[in-house]
Symmetry: C2
Amino acid sequence: MALIVKKFGGSSVANAERVFNVANIIVEDYKAGNDVIAVVSAQGDTTDELISKAYEINPDGPSKREMDMLMSAGEQISIALLAMAIEKLGYPVISLLGWQAGFKTDSKYSAARIKSLDTDRLKAELAKRNIVIVAGFQGINKYDDITTLGRGGSDTSAVAIAAAMNADLCQIYTDVDGVYTADPRIVKNAKKMQEITYDEMLELATLGAQVLNNRSVEMAKKYNVELEVLSSFERKPGTIVKEVITMEKMLIRGVARDNNVARFSIIGLPDTPGVAFKLFNNLAKKNINVDIILQSVGRDGTKDITFTVAKNQSKETMQVLEEFKQSVGGQKIIFDDKVSKISIVGTGMETHPGVAAKMFEALYSAGINIQMISTSEIKISVLIDIEYSDLAVQVVHDAFIE
Amino acid sequence: MALIVKKFGGSSVANAERVFNVANIIVEDYKAGNDVIAVVSAQGDTTDELISKAYEINPDGPSKREMDMLMSAGEQISIALLAMAIEKLGYPVISLLGWQAGFKTDSKYSAARIKSLDTDRLKAELAKRNIVIVAGFQGINKYDDITTLGRGGSDTSAVAIAAAMNADLCQIYTDVDGVYTADPRIVKNAKKMQEITYDEMLELATLGAQVLNNRSVEMAKKYNVELEVLSSFERKPGTIVKEVITMEKMLIRGVARDNNVARFSIIGLPDTPGVAFKLFNNLAKKNINVDIILQSVGRDGTKDITFTVAKNQSKETMQVLEEFKQSVGGQKIIFDDKVSKISIVGTGMETHPGVAAKMFEALYSAGINIQMISTSEIKISVLIDIEYSDLAVQVVHDAFIE
């Protein structure tokens, strides 16, 4: 007998038929003698309806406190419906809201962080042999006000429960059946991985693989919670995410691409100490995350700084740069959002020289020009023209994985 | 400066436009320097959607515990939207769920009773000069599980807050603009009352006037909370409900009718002691509420018992009677649901003889036959053929009020 935590996203419970599909998955594990806690997101259409109701009232965007009050009703609906389906199948079940399941958070509405998880109620319900359905994404702060955990919050809720309850496995059900060596929609011969390490998964998530939320992988790594990414629509094993993997020994684990990128250059800055520090400090103050950075000495004793940010932060970035050019000096600003970031990830690469060279060669052979390069211990990223994005993923994948 | 509690039903917040209408009503009183707590029901269409989702999952009817979890999301949505509208108008506001507002109930899911109301949070929010929006109809039990108060529950929530907070006035906004001497849809010359006593209101509510929920009037009477019934669609004074009224001195306050009535007779019961007791005891055990009762001695030493129940309890009533006839004896059962109960209510009548005679005369003059009669200190009810229901209301109203 094991304790299994399962997380189902909004699309997995989108209608009555899918709710029963999820109920059957849960009941199957329960019948085998396991304790089961299922964390559920809001039904997809509920979330959309609630958002549109809120913006109909206030098109400028309502306060985050009231938005959290509103949105958290979405999971309340889905947990009740899932519990009803399990009742209908004839199994003992109870649904719990975030606060009832013990989730205490800080007060950052819409992006709260979990401060503690009081597991008394969860344990009491399992002791009664109840299947427990928990509302993901939500908790309460010290004022007893409802908070939500922000994007991917239900994954985080599930991992937090698995960690606090010492669960044997935390299964994240999505609409894909595992983690692939590249996006199967682009690379036809992409392969599903049986296992992947937390660090590799983190790099892949950051790089736009969008299978698992980063915060939840970080938390799983910290508390050593074994994750499984699998599909709620097909009954087959997914991909296990854990600390050390044993089965496969591949140099490169996967190829990821991120098209939500924009490149900025500020040309002809004075070559004095502290210029770069001031620039990135100003960006940080506006909560702008800078990714790849390149600094080069220009002609006539000036320097150029080039960096990438998320495309949807272009407007704020341009504003910071304009002000910076005014106050510090600089010749011009160059902006390009027709770029794509292609990355390879693998814990093996740090002990294998020549990985970068092999990647560059694959791109060169396909006639793709590299604009910027960034490397870490377990990944290499390059920035290219967005026109060649799909081709780049394919040729890099072919070079390392096929 | 006063403390005003306002309650708005589902139709008053049915869409964004109406939510703003309610927001403006609230803000008007707040701007005048008052403290305002508004209790809100779920939007009408939300309630319908949630019920249909639940019955799609389980057509036999889900457990009441999960149904309460589901339905209480409805008010969560409406309080957040109303708070957003008030924010948009530029006033400080906070929404609170039933449990956040301090509502503790017993554990009778779907029909819970309020056990206590902890007003700390409400007081703290008013002290900050916040407008407070409270989810009606809901609370939590001792296990920290969500409960709902059942039919008319939001009225009860509002009166409970008014009582516990010593509010100066509790305004119940509905889609009618007050309490009338008769249903204005039937009696064109029906008049709106300025004031009415709790007892009169209770009789009128029971008799099918359906303006206020009985539990809330009982609670208002118990804690001496002054109520006002008024329209959220028109800005004009409604009807005040209180202990002693001063302004009007009318013998009869109003004429009510109830068509949800069925009449049963059991003929030829043995004339032995305890027969009536046993019959009504059996009905009570099935939670069947008996209204008018008539017992008469039949021929040949038997007796007949005739009584009325709510029409929707006819099936259970018939079952009890069939069993009773089998075990105790009796000749036959007569059933008629083509009947209507017409009642006059007024605290004045107990000291004025001749009221009953005047009512019977009015009906006789219109050619309407009276089947049963029931009287109490402040009301007289008669059962008639449903065909004459509208006419009876009109002629009785004309006799006393015009």
